[in-house]
């Protein structure tokens, strides 16, 4: 219940300001930001990683005094609701948060829930910003004016993996990727890119990483085709199992991890990189090399007792972007204005953020970088290679290279 702290209408605010110009300190107003996602059930940990990132970001924003608009200070509070990845509950939660907490923006990390939210986020007089955490390109195809797509498209990894693998001389790939919207698209995309290059997918053995525990069946079938490399992945924890079981079945070759799985997390579960020689995947945040990343990692792990995942990293950065966009728009409750202000708040670079966001594309996709890192034959991590998805010119890339803290950045041109 924060009825007494409801953000005031702009005119009213200005009138207030006029009266109180010389009042030095005004009580900060609390703005509630919404989150709905799976906080129980099989995808609970994934949901929590997202919530943690946003919450951690809000904590930092608030401890730095929040944002100021026309002399009024605003702080944030996150209302995180569980929907068990059930779209019905997602809608109910969103309705409640709009209705009772007047949230201007709602974060959600599950594609099948984001879509119905985008069905109601443009209702007249009831708009809200859809802060979508999903790396599938499908989000953008829904063409919603009030959507912000937070993580970089996974197509970056698809292309990067394919390039690297091709250059290694590998030709036959076997896939054992998670079932589900995200996994299905990943497999499809990779197959397309890989076959376009002239490579072959010799086995496609998907498994439900959320419900299954033994992957021997799929692995045996995949390995029987003698692939040059394995493409596996889903959430980090089961992915670690897959890696381990592949090694148990005698596979010694390279393994590529889709971006949902995080190498450092997998390594932690497997108790080191012994089983991970020749693994390629998304680098640990700390290895990306932004100045802030180390600090973030330390603080985060202290607070939440788990490794910071990329979900946490991007959400942390995104909530900062949202706050900045509000400040820029001069409003905390006009989703349209905030959305329009978004492109102006970039870039958010590595001195202050664990990940970098450079700009926003036409349909609300934030442009960040995607990294690829390999573990060599001695079990040592190599320096990550970073890619930016971009449709613009070399000039812009050069500009980004100028501000970015992440070191080596490559251009990657894809049409989403």
């Amino acid at each position: 219940g924060s009825t007494d702290q409801e953000p005031k209408a702009p005119e009213q605010e200005q009138a207030d300001d006029a009266k109180a110009v010389d009042k030095v300190e005004k009580e900060p107003i609390e703005v509630v930001i919404g989150f709905t996602g799976p906080l129980s059930g099989p995808a609970a940990q994934y949901g929590k990683d997202n919530v943690n990132g946003i919450e951690y970001g809000i904590e930092h924003i608030n401890s730095n005094g929040g944002i100021t608009i026309d002399g009024q200070k605003y702080t944030f509070r996150l209302e995180a609701m569980d929907d068990q990845a059930d779209p019905t509950q997602t809608i109910n939660n969103a309705r409640r948060m709009r209705d009772q907490l007047d949230v201007p923006a709602i974060f959600n990390p599950v594609f099948t829930s984001i879509a119905p939210l985008m069905d109601i986020n443009s209702e007249p007089d009831n708009e809200f910003l859809m802060m979508a955490y999903s790396s599938t390109p499908a989000i953008l195809h829904l063409d919603n004016d009030l959507t912000v797509r937070i993580p970089p498209s996974f197509l970056i990894y698809v292309e990067a993996f394919a390039d690297i693998a091709w250059n290694e001389g590998w030709r036959n790939g076997a896939m054992l990727v998670t079932l589900g919207g995200y996994g299905d698209e990943w497999r499809e995309a990779f197959r397309e890119v890989w076959e376009h290059k002239g490579g072959k997918i010799v086995a496609d053995q998907p498994a439900n990483y959320y419900t299954e525990t033994d992957y021997s069946t799929q692995l045996s079938a995949a390995l029987a085709t003698n692939p040059d490399f394995l493409l596996v992945g889903g959430p980090s924890e089961p992915t670690a199992l897959v890696v381990e079981q592949a090694r148990d079945l005698g596979y010694k070759g390279p393994i590529l991890l889709v971006d949902q799985a995080k190498q450092d997390h997998v390594a932690k579960i497997l108790g080191g990189t012994d089983l991970m020689h020749g693994v390629m995947g998304v680098p640990a945040t700390a290895d990306v090399g932004t100045e802030f990343a180390q600090e973030f990692k330390k603080g985060y792990e202290e607070k939440y007792g788990v490794i910071n995942t990329w979900e946490a990293v991007w959400e942390y950065t995104a909530i900062h972007a949202l706050a900045a966009a509000m400040e820029e728009a001069g409003s905390v409750d006009d989703p349209k204005a905030i959305r329009e202000a978004f492109p102006k708040v970039f870039p958010l670079t590595g001195e202050e953020y664990p990940a970098e966001m450079f700009s926003m594309g036409p349909r609300g996709a934030i442009h960040g970088f995607g990294g690829v890192q390999r573990i060599d034959d001695n079990g040592e991590y190599t320096t990550p290679l970073n890619y930016v998805w971009w449709t613009d010119s070399q000039d812009v890339l050069d500009e980004i290279k100028g501000v970015s803290q992440v070191g080596q950045i490559e251009l990657m041109k894809i049409d989403e």
């Binding site: 129980s40 998907p206 069946t217 148990d248």
Partner: protein
Amino acid sequence: MELFLQQVFNGIMLGSTYAMVALGLTLVFGILHVPNFAHGNLYMLGAYVTFFLISLYQFGFWAAVISSMVILGVVGMLVERFVYRPLIGQPHINMFISAIGLLILLENSVAVVWGTSAKRIPHPYPDTVHLLGITTTQQRLIVIVAAVIMIILLQLFIKKTIHGTTIEAVAQDREGAQLVGINVNWVSSMTFAISSAFAAAAASLMAPIFMITPTMGALLVMKAFVIIILGGLGSMQGAILGGYILGLVESLGGGFISAAYKDVFAFGALVLILAIKPTGLFGKESN
């Protein structure tokens, strides 16, 4: 051929898990007719207990497994006493609802108390083994052997002592059982204790190979129900055979036809078998 053997091995390994869980469930569902959908959660709880005994209290692996069985046995008795016994005499479907309630309660309590991130027990026997062209680990072999031993022990206990008949008697006519001097509540308690201990044993043996999460039992319990029905309610041989059949159907169907549809084969097989034989492979009774 090598692949085929490998898949058969995988199927047997999976089947061992299934058979163990299904056998525990047979006692309470097949014989006692309590549709304990929370059996998978007791399995999960067993894995957590083993995990904490090993990681917090430095128990050895086997000591932890046995302690976990004992602890879950007690939990099983409590479950029987407070969740199912008050419902005796009511329609079966009410027990089903209360099982769903228990399932939700256990899964979420564990998630709240111990977190949702996956836990891992270090491999006590991590070495790889090669035989007959099959590659596997010692732990997996241990699972298979241990499963067979446990299954035989339980079979002996049920078939060779009067206890098995006692459980059946209680299930078939509670009043009749009382009239011959059986303490029906005690028998129900013991049945749940054995069933839960069995689940804990299965989970603990499997834990080093797999991952421990609050939802690890969700799909498994469903399969266990399918297995019991496939084998025929109340039939121990049915549950064992059903477990191995399901494991093999999954590994061979998944490995050679389609991985995405492997559960469709398993569940579809049941629908078809029941269409032909409505009381399962070894079933005698029809309700």
